[in-house]
C-alpha cells in the first residue's frame, strides 16, 4: 500500500516537470500553430546558459536562473523575428523543417561549446533535501518545488491569456489571423512576444531539469517527446490539461519503473498510445477547434 501511494506521489510530482517542458510547446502551438521541434533543445540551451553564467561570471545559481528569464525571452523574440517569421505561412512544412534544423544546430553548437560531458546545476545541497510525510513516505524538496513551479507557470499563463488585453490578442490571432490584422494587431510582433514567453518558460523548466538530473547537449529530443506526450494526453489548447497529461505520464513512468527499472519509458509511451486510441483529442480537449 505504502509503495502504491509512493509511486503515485512521485509520479504526480514528476508530472510537474513534464508540464513545465510542455507549457511552452503548448503555448506556441496554440498561438501560431507551429510545432517547435527544437523545443527540447531550447530547454537544454537554457540549462547551459545558466551553467555558463554561474561558471564564467561566477553568479550564484538563483541569480543566473532569474537572469535567464529575460535572456531567453530576448532569444525567443529574435528567433521568431529573424528565423521563423520568414518561413511561417499556409504550408506547415517549412517551419517544421526549420525548427528541425534549429534543433540540430543547437545540439552541435552546445557540443562545440561545452563538449559532450554530462553537467549538472548545483544548488549546494538543496537537491537532496526531502520532507518526511510519515508512514515511511517522503517527498523530495526539488520535485515538490518543480510541481509548485508548474502550477505557478500555468496559473500565470492562464491569467495572461484570459485576463489581459495581450492574451485577448493572442487568442484572436489564433482564431483568425486575417481578421486580427484588421483589428490593428501586428501578428509578427505578437508571435515574437509569444516565442519570447515560451522560451522564458523553457528557462524555468531548464532550472529544474538541471537541478534534478544530469544533462548533456543531446538530451533535448527526449524532453521534446515527453512534452509532446503530455500535451497530447492533456488535449491541445488547455494548459491545465497539459499538467494533467504530465501527471498521467509521470505516474505511468514511475509505475513502470517500479515494476522493472527498464520499463520506465516504455510504460509512459504505452499509456500515451492507449490514451491516444481511446481519446484521440486528449483528456481535456478545447471546446472550439
Amino acid at each position: 500500500m505504502t509503495t502504491l501511494v509512493d509511486i503515485v506521489l512521485q509520479g504526480v510530482l514528476l508530472g510537474g516537470l513534464y508540464a513545465l517542458f510542455a507549457a511552452g510547446l503548448s503555448l506556441i502551438f496554440g498561438v501560431m500553430r507551429l510545432v517547435n521541434l527544437a523545443h527540447g533543445d531550447l530547454i537544454v540551451l537554457a540549462a547551459f546558459l545558466m551553467l555558463a553564467l554561474t561558471r564564467v561570471l561566477g553568479l550564484p545559481l538563483p541569480v543566473a536562473a532569474l537572469l535567464c528569464l529575460p535572456l531567453m525571452f530576448a532569444i525567443g523574440y529574435a528567433l521568431q523575428r529573424l528565423v521563423l517569421d520568414p518561413v511561417l505561412g499556409k504550408d506547415i512544412l517549412p517551419p517544421l523543417l526549420t525548427t528541425f534544423g534549429l534543433s540540430i544546430i543547437i545540439q552541435n553548437g552546445l557540443l562545440e561549446g561545452f563538449s559532450a560531458d554530462s553537467q549538472r546545476l548545483s544548488g549546494g545541497g538543496v537537491e537532496t533535501l526531502s520532507l518526511p510525510l510519515g508512514g515511511g513516505l517522503a517527498i523530495g524538496l526539488m520535485p515538490l518545488l518543480t510541481f509548485l513551479a508548474a502550477i505557478l507557470v500555468i496559473v500565470a499563463l492562464n491569467r495572461l491569456f484570459y485576463a489581459t488585453a495581450l492574451g485577448r490578442a493572442f487568442r484572436a490571432v489564433s482564431d483568425d489571423p486575417e481578421i486580427a490584422r484588421l483589428m490593428g494587431i501586428d501578428n509578427r510582433r505578437l508571435f515574437a512576444v509569444a516565442m519570447g514567453l515560451a522560451l522564458s518558460v523553457c528557462a524555468v523548466a531548464a532550472f529544474f531539469l538541471g537541478m534534478r538530473s544530469n544533462f548533456d547537449p543531446t538530451i533535448g529530443p527526449a524532453r521534446l517527446l515527453f512534452a509532446f506526450e503530455a500535451v497530447i494526453i492533456g488535449g491541445l489548447g488547455s494548459l491545465w490539461g497539459t499538467l494533467a497529461g504530465g501527471v498521467v505520464l509521470g505516474v505511468a513512468q514511475t509505475a513502470g519503473a517500479a515494476l522493472n527499472p527498464e520499463w520506465q519509458l516504455l510504460a509512459g509511451h504505452l499509456v500515451f498510445l492507449a490514451i491516444l486510441v481511446a481519446r484521440p483529442r486528449g483528456l481535456f480537449p478545447r471546446a472550439t477547434d
Binding site: A165, D175, I179, R181, L182, M183, G184, N187, T288
Partner: protein, 233 residues
C-alpha cells in the same frame, strides 16, 4: 478634400485579376453604397483598401496619404475599420472581448466605447459574457459592427451586413446607421440588396466583373441604368 480617393486600382489573386482600374472618392462623413452581383469584386475592393490584398501605394489615398499596400494593422491605425463579410467574430472570445479587441490598434477619440455601444445595441450587454459565436446571426452582426466602431474610425467599411438575416433583423441593423453617421464617420456599404443600399446612402457605385460600371446619386439613377450596370445588359 476627399477623405478617400481610389484611382485606377487593380487587384489580383495570384494570376487572377479581380479588379480592373477601379476608382472612387469619398468625402468625410459621406455614405457610399457599393453594389454589384456575386463575384463582381466588391469584397476584393474592401480587402485591397484594408491592406489584406496588395495594392499600388498611390492607388489608395486616405486623409491625404498614400496607403495602398501598407500592412493591414497600419491602415487600421489610420482610421479605417471593417465589418468583414460573414461577420468573422473570434470564436474563443466573449462578446465583450470581441468588442474590446476592436480597439487594440487604435481607440481614437470619439463617441464609441463599450458603454455607448451597449446603448446602441442593448441586447449585447445582456449577452456580453457569452461566446461571440453563440449569438443569433443578427446579434453577431451587431458585435461585428461594434467591434469595428471601437476604434472610432473615420471610415467604416461594411461588407454585406444584411446577408442571411431576416428582414426584421436587417431593419434593426440598419437602424443603427444614423447614430453611426451622426458621429461624422464616413461609411462604405457593400450590398447586394440594392433597395436597402440606395435608401441610406448619399452616392452609389456599381461594380461588374471588377470594373466600376456606374456612379451617381440614388435620385439621379434610373432603374434601367442600374439594371444595365448591375447585370451588363
Amino acid at each position: 478634400m476627399a477623405l478617400l480617393e481610389i484611382s485606377a486600382l487593380d487587384a489580383f489573386y495570384g494570376d487572377f485579376q479581380a479588379l480592373f482600374g477601379a476608382s472612387l472618392r469619398l468625402d468625410t462623413g459621406e455614405a457610399l453604397a457599393v453594389i454589384g452581383s456575386n463575384g463582381a469584386g466588391k469584397s476584393t475592393l474592401l480587402k485591397a483598401l484594408t491592406g489584406l490584398l496588395p495594392a499600388r501605394a498611390d492607388a489608395i489615398r486616405f486623409d491625404g496619404a498614400a496607403i495602398g499596400g501598407l500592412p493591414a494593422s497600419e491602415i487600421m491605425k489610420r482610421g479605417i475599420a471593417m465589418v468583414p463579410e460573414g461577420r468573422r467574430l473570434f470564436p474563443s472570445l466573449s462578446v465583450e472581448e470581441n468588442l474590446l479587441i476592436g480597439g487594440w490598434g487604435r481607440t481614437g477619440t470619439g463617441h464609441w466605447s463599450l458603454e455607448s455601444l451597449y446603448r446602441l445595441f442593448p441586447v449585447l450587454k445582456e449577452r456580453r459574457h457569452s461566446p461571440g459565436t453563440a449569438l443569433s446571426g443578427g446579434q453577431q452582426q451587431m458585435v461585428a459592427i461594434g467591434r469595428a466602431l471601437m476604434s472610432n474610425p473615420a471610415l467604416l467599411l461594411c461588407d454585406e451586413i444584411s446577408l442571411g438575416l431576416a428582414p426584421v433583423v436587417v431593419r434593426d441593423i440598419y437602424g443603427a446607421l444614423p447614430a453611426i453617421r451622426a458621429e461624422g464617420t464616413a461609411v462604405v456599404l457593400v450590398e447586394q440588396d440594392i433597395v436597402q443600399a440606395l435608401a441610406v446612402c448619399d452616392r452609389v457605385i456599381c461594380l461588374q466583373e471588377g470594373r466600376v460600371t456606374l456612379e451617381g446619386e440614388p435620385a439621379d439613377l434610373t432603374r434601367d441604368a442600374i439594371q444595365r450596370a448591375y447585370f451588363g445588359r
